[in-house]
């Protein structure tokens, strides 16, 4: 049986990423604490979220050290979800419009 060598990296890198995740989590908590609103809030929340997700997958889950064949097989299919996200948003806007027209007649 072909045996794969285990992932072996210095402990320091995990501690650094751990610290970085703490900083990013604190930052995203502060976004709520200081009541940022509107597009700034959205931008900050999404950026911190994606940075945290990227760090976890790349370092903690060792994805950055895997071969490209595995990386593509795992990371690319979830991008399809963007389509579902788009469909969901379109549908929600439409539902909101019809609900506004029929439930809240004074609005239009």
């Amino acid at each position: 049986m072909a045996h794969a060598e285990g992932q072996q990296h210095p402990i320091g890198i995990y501690l650094k990423i751990w610290g970085l995740l703490f900083v990013l989590s604190t930052a995203s908590y502060l976004v709520d604490y200081f009541h940022f609103q509107g597009y700034l809030r959205w931008f900050l929340i999404i950026v911190f979220m994606l940075l945290k997700a990227g760090l976890i997958v790349a370092v903690f889950m060792h994805m950055m050290w895997e071969r490209l064949a595995l990386m593509y097989a795992i990371v690319v299919p979830p991008l399809l979800l963007m389509v579902l996200l788009g469909i969901g948003a379109l549908e929600a806007d439409y539902t909101f419009l019809t609900r506004s027209v029929f439930f809240m007649k004074g609005l239009f």
Binding site: M49, M61, H62, R67, A69, L70, G88, R99
Partner: protein, 241 residues
């Protein structure tokens, strides 16, 4: 006709890198995922399917939240706690986030010490991960009971606003909490295997009968980090939106 035979047939052929490597790996008529144990590739594929499940929940939550004409309850206020006479918004969720990140850190170090065959350190770190996971579930139980008994949130309605709040909340955090609970159970199982030396002596597992190996610590780690990963998205999209 004689053919030139390579001098050393034991020497594996070098694997190409980059895009050429992707093509070569997938067309090699063998295992597509080189340098990765079978179980690890399968765990990754399971995690992709789990990604789709959680995404379906989160996207349907987005859809109901965008389409409701009632005001959505403000999560910052709903999940506020009064500590030392002061109302702090979202504090319990922040603590839960830090606990889960810390458990991910201890898990990553457990994997590292596992490959170094340091049994005691791996065991302690795995147990610490399980303990942090269990305290996360405990806090979630506290959060749920506070919401159900004090705030009167139900899957079909709540006094604060949009009825969809309850169903989305219970569905998403409930499914995530189930994942954490299953993870805690398996962490304890893996920790016992490590301490007993099952992985050093390649003792067959009780369920699969496969030989024990320190790869299972890393596979367990993949699952645990995924649970943390999902929480990153729930924290941002449910609690901070």
């Amino acid at each position: 006709m004689t053919q030139a035979i390579p001098a050393n047939t034991l020497e594996p052929l070098p694997l190409p890198e980059g895009i050429q490597g992707v093509v070569a790996d997938w067309s090699s008529d063998q295992r597509a995922f080189k340098k990765v144990p079978w179980g690890k590739a399968m765990m990754w594929i399971f995690l992709v399917s789990d990604t789709f499940i959680f995404s379906a929940f989160l996207i349907s939550y987005m859809t109901v939240r965008m389409s409701t004409t009632d005001p959505w309850p403000n999560p910052g206020e709903v999940f506020a706690l009064t500590l030392w006479g002061k109302k702090i918004p979202l504090i319990l969720i922040a603590i839960m986030t830090f606990i889960l990140i810390s458990s991910s850190g201890t898990m990553a170090m457990a994997v590292n010490f596992g490959y170094r065959k340091d049994r005691v350190k791996t065991f302690v770190l795995l147990l610490l991960t399980a303990a942090l996971g269990a305290s996360f579930v405990g806090m979630q139980a506290f959060e749920w009971s506070k919401l159900i008994f004090e705030e009167g949130v139900r899957p079909w309605g709540n006094p604060m606003g949009a009825a969809q709040f309850g169903s989305a909340f219970f569905m998403i955090t409930g499914f995530h909490g189930t994942h954490v609970s299953i993870g805690v159970i398996f962490l304890i199982i893996v920790a016992i295997k490590v301490l007993r030396g099952d992985l050093d002596h390649q003792r067959p597992g009780f369920l699969t009968g496969r030989k024990g190996n320190y790869e299972i610590v890393e596979i367990m780690g993949l699952y645990w980090h995924f649970v943390d990963l999902v929480w990153v998205f729930i924290f941002a999209l449910f609690y901070l939106w």
